[in-house]
């Protein structure tokens, strides 16, 4: 009896210790740390206003048409509320959007992937996308249904970037040595990156379907690992003032943070004027964002923009 209880206690202690070690080392996904981390990674910036004004009229028109963005939204039936909101709101501003679902859903059209595993979903979605659309689009934006995106600002950001170069852009994070784009903020791939990705996905040594680790790695980290093998590295996107344009939180959450960390300069600490994504939004918030971004404005303020985007039909 005594030896049993002592083994039990030893077991509990060992289990607890193991868990602590694993959590601290492996960043088990129980929630993301909210403190700002010090990144050492590439930062790529939006075009400068001066650069943009040097474009001629003809060049501006050409450019507006030439940046073609295909949107992938990874969904599951449980996300139906968010899915509907995304479908009705920002995704209409993509040149084309498709919803890649874990399984077929009666209410909405989707590309059924027949798997519940996020990494497998992501692999399949990218593979299908490359096969079908490699000649039609030059940029590929992947998002979750809790994300809100402003495609016009994405296009402005990509304005002077050559899609035949391997770009892999978003809100980057660091996990040990690995630098990856956080899926919550949206993932942008150029056609060249997608091309390289579709090749390495066939390589089951470098880029297997099963994570191959003790515990499962999140799909956004897996993606980074696979891309790294092909020479494609994550880059953090910032505006000309150094502020992130891809955000993994909502505007409200970022404002609250700015008020405690930058109480004297809430504006500067919060968010970019040219923000592309916010995340963690409820379906209602997406409708509010549509009004706040695409309609509500102060009379008498005009801009001399280099690109022209018409409102979507419907």
């Amino acid at each position: 009896m005594i030896s049993e209880s002592s083994s039990f206690v030893k077991g509990v202690v060992l289990g607890g210790a193991f868990c602590v070690v694993v959590t601290l080392l492996g960043h088990i996904k129980v929630g993301h740390g909210t403190k700002a981390r010090h990144h050492e990674h590439h930062h790529i910036q939006a075009p400068n206003k001066e650069d943009v004004l040097n474009l001629s009229e003809g060049e501006r028109m050409e450019l507006s048409k030439s940046i073609r963005v295909y949107c992938i939204v990874l969904v599951k039936p449980k996300d139906l509320g968010h899915w509907a909101a995304v479908k009705e709101t920002w995704s209409k501003h993509c040149d084309k959007v498709e919803f890649y679902s874990s399984e077929n859903v009666k209410v909405f059209e989707s590309v059924a992937l027949n798997t519940n595993d996020m990494w497998v979903m992501m692999r399949k979605a990218y593979k299908i996308t490359y096969e079908r659309y490699k000649d039609e689009f030059n940029w590929f934006f992947l998002a979750y249904p809790t994300t809100f995106a402003i495609i016009e600002n994405l296009k402005y950001f990509l304005l002077k970037k050559d899609p035949s170069q391997p770009f892999y852009i978003g809100h980057t994070m660091k996990s040990g040595d690995l630098e990856y784009v956080d899926g919550e903020g949206g993932i942008v791939l150029s056609i060249e990156s997608l091309r390289r990705l579709s090749r390495v996905l066939e390589d089951s040594d470098k880029c297997p379907e099963q994570g191959g680790m003790l515990w499962k790695l999140d799909e956004d980290k897996q993606l980074a690992i696979c891309l790294k093998y092909t020479g494609v590295f994550a880059e953090n996107a910032e505006d000309s003032e150094g502020k992130d344009v891809f955000n993994t939180k909502s505007v409200g959450a970022l404002i609250k943070e700015a008020m405690s960390t930058h109480p004297q300069q809430v504006v500067d600490g919060c968010c970019s004027d040219m923000a592309i994504t916010f995340s963690g939004l409820a379906p209602n918030h997406m409708h509010v964002m549509m009004y706040g971004v695409y309609r509500l404005r102060p009379y008498g303020h005009t801009y001399n923009d280099a690109l022209v985007f018409l409102p979507p039909t419907g």
Partner: protein, 366 residues
């Protein structure tokens, strides 16, 4: 037996370690997980805006300097807005009290208030630091009408010549001054008229919701102040906006139509979410019976050039400030073009479509 005993030990050990791991994992998930607060569905059950029960979940510490300066938009052309600033002079006064200066009025001051030609914060007591004007009244719901009368009296006595229009707002109202100027630019301050979110009960020509804010022309203010000297209007009422509306009717100040050229409301008694989301406000809610014009929910609720929102908490103040004056979709051509319409809706819709067609053609030609 020795082997079965050691097997037993092994089993209990394994079981123990599983429990230890599991408990630890749970603890970590609780500690590391972000708290997601679900905002309560607060429906304000009284049209006459009660602020006494403050459910302030969002108390903010520290100085909020959400700088409303235009430096963020260096390639922005503000000539039209600046022209209107000179042409349509608006004095704003914000109804507040000593207990709300840090919680509410401060955020008003940090955001939209600076865009008024003149801004005054009205309180029962004077505060030289904030600063606030002391009206020498008590605080409380039943004092609101008296405070309003005294506030307008103060404005008339000290600033009558400094402005053309006089806007009253609460410390949880967000006002978009540029859009208010555009609305008022079509009228003369010598007209006896006032604008706001028009309600229909009790007063024949309707009256304006207090919380959504209302704005009096110079002539209207003159008549309002005179009415009390001549005892034309009563001095006391527990319902500020209704009492003011009754008085306006007595003194022949017209209740104006503040809707935009496509018929959409500009002054809003709630935050955008409550108006934009179909079904948010239940059909039994008082609001549907109060609105003078047919009330709309969903995207048609609200003008692109909205003037005000109400029940705006501190976080939402900055949220609105960011969405309105900072974040914008680059290169985007807005659907609604206020300047192209002389006749409402049809004209603007047609012209907007025409412009879109022309541009589409131009783009496809290139």
């Amino acid at each position: 037996m020795a082997s079965s005993k050691s097997l037993m030990n092994l089993l209990t050990f394994t079981f123990g370690s599983a429990i230890g791991f599991f408990v630890c994992y749970l603890l970590f998930s609780i500690i590391l997980e972000e708290q997601v607060k679900i905002q309560p569905h607060i429906l304000h059950n009284d049209p006459h805006g009660q602020h006494s029960a403050d459910t302030d979940n969002n108390q903010l510490q520290g100085q909020m300097n959400f700088n409303a300066d235009f430096g963020q938009h260096k390639d922005e052309n503000k000539n039209i807005a600046e022209g209107l600033y000179q042409k349509v002079k608006i004095l704003c006064w914000v109804m507040t009290g000593p207990q709300n200066l840090e919680k509410k009025a401060k955020h008003v001051k940090a955001t939209w208030a600076q865009r008024c030609n003149k801004i005054l914060f009205m309180s029962s007591e004077e505060n030289k630091d904030f600063p606030t004007v002391g009206l020498e009244t008590k605080e409380g719901r039943d004092q609101l009408y008296w405070k309003t009368i005294k506030a307008f009296q103060y404005v008339y006595d000290h600033y009558f010549d400094d402005a053309d229009w006089f806007m009253k707002a609460d410390d949880d109202t967000y006002v978009i001054l540029d859009n208010l100027r555009w609305l008022l630019s079509k009228y003369s301050p010598e007209q006896p008229i006032y604008f706001g979110r028009r309600f229909k009960p009790y007063v024949k020509q309707g009256y304006m919701s207090g919380g959504a804010g209302y704005v009096l022309s110079k002539e209207a203010l003159k008549r309002f102040v005179a009415a009390f000297k001549m005892n034309k209007c009563s001095h006391s009422s527990s319902i500020e906006d209704l009492a003011l509306g009754k008085c306006m009717e007595i003194i022949n100040v017209e209740a104006g139509d503040s809707r935009d050229t496509s018929g959409r409301e500009t002054f809003h008694p709630f935050v955008p979410e409550h108006h934009l989301i179909i079904g948010y406000l239940p059909k039994t809610f008082w609001y549907w019976n109060y609105n003078y014009y047919p009330a709309v929910e969903g995207p048609g609720c609200c003008s692109d050039l909205a003037v005000s929102f109400h029940y705006v908490d501190s976080v939402t103040m900055y949220h609105l400030e960011y969405l309105i004056y900072h974040l914008r979709p680059y290169g985007y051509l807005y659907r609604y073009n206020p300047d192209s319409a002389k006749n409402p809706e049809e004209q603007s819709k047609n012209e907007a479509e025409e412009d879109n067609q022309k541009l589409k053609q131009k783009i496809s030609e290139n």
